[in-house]
């Protein structure tokens, strides 16, 4: 275990942590806004997968990762209309709707994969390259960890403060939080609850798509059906563990990412702890976090409760 603490390896672990955490930041910040608007959209996993698939297809046919990203995000925003229709118009159980979307996404992906991908020559595609920030990337330790990453990684660093600012410092953020806490309070002021929830779902969905596409384009050279591998669920757990507060969620995600990074490296170095132990660590950690942080819950009061007047 001790060998993991050594210089170069440590840097490698930390860099891996940042690499693992940042796609999740997109999904988590999106899902946070959705949940703050009172919608428990658990289809993060499926939406990330969809984003990855679309990004893969577009990137391998057009060769442009940025176009792929754009199309993936757009597709996920579009797909979110299903979730909006089912939960806001039909007022169905949000949990069930989310589960259904997840199953649909993984089923369709498997089908597509087995029909069109498997057994053929994997197409070449160009993903995102590493962008070294001049000077900053030369700082020892911090440089390789933080400033020799993909361009989107740098964007993701800005995201939590932006989302925080939106939620707590803008009028629309206040309205979104109001919808999640007590939709009637906004309704009686003459503002539409459904419209805001729909937009929040759309934002969450496109951010999840962005996270999935980033995972695909930034860190994979070929598509595999379990590319997301439960990270979407981890995002949902991180939001709960982070008590619906932006920066705590970031903290939770980085803890999960660190555990995963350690797991990967432990495997490489050959530490005598079974790999599976490391796989469950993030979940154990989130349970510990949940049990440990006994502060007042910030879970939106109306989370998951469909709103209707009569």
């Amino acid at each position: 275990m001790l060998e993991l603490m050594q210089g170069p390896l440590l840097i490698s672990i930390l860099a891996a942590m940042v690499r693992i955490a940042t796609p999740l930041l997109f999904s988590a910040m999106g899902e946070l806004v959705t949940q703050r608007a009172g919608i428990w959209n658990i289809s993060v996993e499926g939406t990330m997968l969809l984003g990855a698939v679309v990004a893969y297809v577009v990137a391998s046919t057009t060769g442009s990762p940025w176009l792929a990203l754009l199309v993936a995000v757009f597709a996920c925003a579009l797909i979110s209309l299903i979730m909006s229709f089912v939960t806001i118009v039909l007022k169905a159980e949000q949990f069930v709707a989310g589960l259904a979307l997840n199953l649909l996404a993984s089923g369709l992906t498997l089908f597509w994969f087995q029909t069109y991908v498997i057994g053929r020559e994997p197409p070449k595609f160009a993903g995102f390259e590493q962008v070294d920030i001049p000077f900053l990337s030369d700082i020892p330790i911090l440089g390789p960890v933080l400033f020799s990453q993909r361009a989107l990684t740098y964007v993701s660093f800005l995201l939590p403060p932006l989302v925080w600012f939106f939620l707590y410092r803008t009028r629309y953020g206040l309205e979104v939080r109001c919808v999640g806490e007590n939709p009637k309070a906004l309704d009686v002021k003459g503002l539409g609850v459904g419209r805001r929830q729909c937009l929040a779902i759309m934002f969450g969905s496109l951010m999840s798509g962005l996270g999935g596409a980033f995972l695909m384009l930034g860190y994979s050279d070929r598509f595999v059906p379990d590319l997301i591998a439960g990270r979407g669920w981890l995002v949902v757990v991180a939001i709960i563990a982070g008590n619906w507060m932006p920066f705590r969620i970031v903290g939770a995600i980085f803890i999960f990412a660190l555990l995963e990074a350690v797991g990967i490296h432990a495997q490489v170095v050959g530490v005598a702890i079974p790999h599976h132990v490391f796989l469950v660590l993030p979940y154990v950690a989130s349970l510990a976090l949940l049990a440990g942080l006994r502060s007042r819950t910030h879970q939106p009061v109306a989370l998951g409760v469909p709103y209707s007047r009569e």
Binding site: R171, Y172, C178, E181, A185, G190
Partner: protein, 507 residues
């Protein structure tokens, strides 16, 4: 005088229930117009239709002479109609300020709160409302929360303001203050629709429209009528005010509280050396402005809040660490002040709510299962005995009107309690007839030997019902007096914490 609002033939149904049945209503410019009617008469439904929150099934609403299409509150607000809802519509972890400004475009994109803060502070000052704008709602007492609701409506500045039972949780002093505000508005030519069950307030209005079973049966000029007249119009018969039977004398001792203290979440004293006792055949009134420790006193007696020192004895047996299970098993009946939060499970039907707390009792079970047949039979019996208006015993109680929901709590607590009844604000929000029904039932318990602790803000009621009245202020008992030896003024002073020349306690 010209009509600001006129409603013709408004009908609103909820499934099989017709809440408003061809209602006609006219509200003049510059008047306070009361809606008066029993629980479930359709007052709130009518107001919600006028506010565009519910869509009326049929009928025409004219505002300033023109037909108004009210499809959502946005339409009403645009016309200048504001409303305070019967049940709070507040976000409990927003601050007062945030609750008022959310949804208003005036703050700009980046929530510049300073202008709004100034405007609200001015409003508070003009109206004599003292409230800290930066406190979160959950920290406020219900009375303060009601002021926030009123401020929300005033901030918007409507031409027609609908107030649905704004005074149910206000003290008489606070209600007077509200009326001063409303009077100022009336003088400025604004109109107010006010719903209240308190006759004292109804009599301060200009006109009263009486609703019965969804129909508007009469509109009268307040100055040309009396409280008795509108009450009998409302229920269709005369309502008798019950008084306690003085020939029955309290005897013995059921409950004796000895220097009970309790500490709040921030280490403050919420109960300080509270001592009193209650005998068989006795009703001890607990008078006080809401939020002075009444709720906490009831909670400690029920074993849901810990005592920090002191204790109480029940039938002579000392209890220092009560648990709620133990208190239930000892047969203490408890009517909490918040019926839907603490007294009932809103989603459950009448039958289930009737056995809450006693679901383990042998009489309602068959082996490990609940005995539905017995529960249903019980529900049917109690619905009849307590005259609960409900479509069926399975209908979720959240669909019942406040008065009917309260009857279910009473039925349950009366059924299972033996010897001691604790009732915190049991008539809050109930109409005159329903309140009298509750009092009648409580007096029956007194006659049968119960000791009753009855907290209420209705001093008139306490004076005619209670054998003695304890006044609580900031967690202390200021004194215990006999109704025949005190006055409203004296009680009022003690409730405000001034007991300098009335400090006394009668046994």
């Amino acid at each position: 005088m010209e009509n600001l609002l006129s409603v013709q033939n408004l009908t609103k149904r909820f499934g099989p229930v017709t809440a408003n049945d061809g209602v006609n209503l006219e509200v003049r410019k510059g008047e306070i117009h009361c809606l008066f009617g029993e629980n479930g008469a359709g007052k709130s439904t009518l107001s919600s239709c006028l506010y565009g929150y519910y869509r009326a099934d049929s009928g025409v609403i004219r505002f300033k002479g023109e037909v108004a299409e009210l499809n959502s509150p946005a339409d009403a607000l645009r016309l200048g109609i504001g409303m305070v809802h019967q049940h709070f519509v507040l976000v409990s972890n927003f601050t007062v300020l945030e609750n008022i400004i959310v949804g208003s475009a005036e703050t700009g994109l980046f929530l510049t709160k300073s202008d709004a803060r100034r405007k609200i502070s001015e409003l508070c000052e003009n109206c004599g409302i003292r409230i800290d704008l930066d406190r979160e709602i959950w920290e406020l007492s219900v009375g303060e929360q009601q002021w926030v609701e009123i401020l929300k409506a005033l901030y918007f500045g409507a031409e027609l303001l609908i107030l649905d039972e704004p005074t149910a949780v206000l003290t008489p002093q606070q209600s007077d203050q509200l009326f001063r505000i409303l009077d100022g508005m009336r003088k400025r030519g604004l109109s107010i629709i006010l719903i209240s069950h308190k006759l004292r307030e109804v009599m301060q209005s200009d006109r009263v429209t009486i609703l019965r079973k969804g129909r508007a049966i009469a509109t009268v000029e307040t100055s040309e009528t009396t409280a008795e007249a509108i009450t009998s119009l409302m229920v269709g018969h005369k309502v008798n005010k019950h008084v306690r039977d003085r020939s029955v004398e309290p005897t013995g001792e059921v409950l004796a509280v000895d220097r009970a203290c309790a500490i709040g979440e921030w280490g403050e004293d919420i109960l300080k050396d509270v001592s009193f006792n209650i005998a068989h055949h006795e009703i001890l009134g607990l008078a006080g402005v809401a939020g002075n420790g009444q709720k906490e006193l009831f909670e400690t007696l029920m074993g849901v809040r810990a005592l920090s020192s002191g204790g109480f004895s029940l039938e002579g047996e000392l209890i220092t660490k009560p648990t709620s299970r133990e208190m239930l098993d000892r047969g203490i009946g408890f009517v909490p002040d918040d019926r839907f939060l603490e007294g009932l499970i809103p989603e459950f039907g009448t039958a289930e709510n009737l056995i809450l707390g006693w679901q383990r009792a042998r009489e309602y079970c068959r082996g490990p299962f609940l005995d539905r047949r017995k529960m249903d039979a019980l529900a049917r019996r109690k619905i009849e005995e307590f005259k609960v208006v409900t479509a069926s015993a399975d209908l979720p109680v959240e669909r019942l009107s406040g008065g009917n929901a309260q009857r279910i709590i009473l039925a349950r607590e009366f059924l299972h309690s033996r010897g001691l009844l604790l009732a915190n604000q049991p008539t809050r929000g109930l109409d005159v007839a329903a309140s009298e029904f509750v009092y009648e039932k409580i007096l029956e318990k007194r006659a049968s030997g119960f000791a009753v602790l009855l907290a209420s803000e209705e001093l008139d009621d306490l004076l005619r019902l209670c054998d003695r009245i304890a006044v609580i202020f900031k967690g202390r008992i200021m004194g215990i007096v006999r109704p025949e030896e005190t006055t409203l003024l004296e009680l009022g002073m003690m409730m405000a914490g001034d007991a300098s020349d009335v400090q006394r306690t009668v046994q």
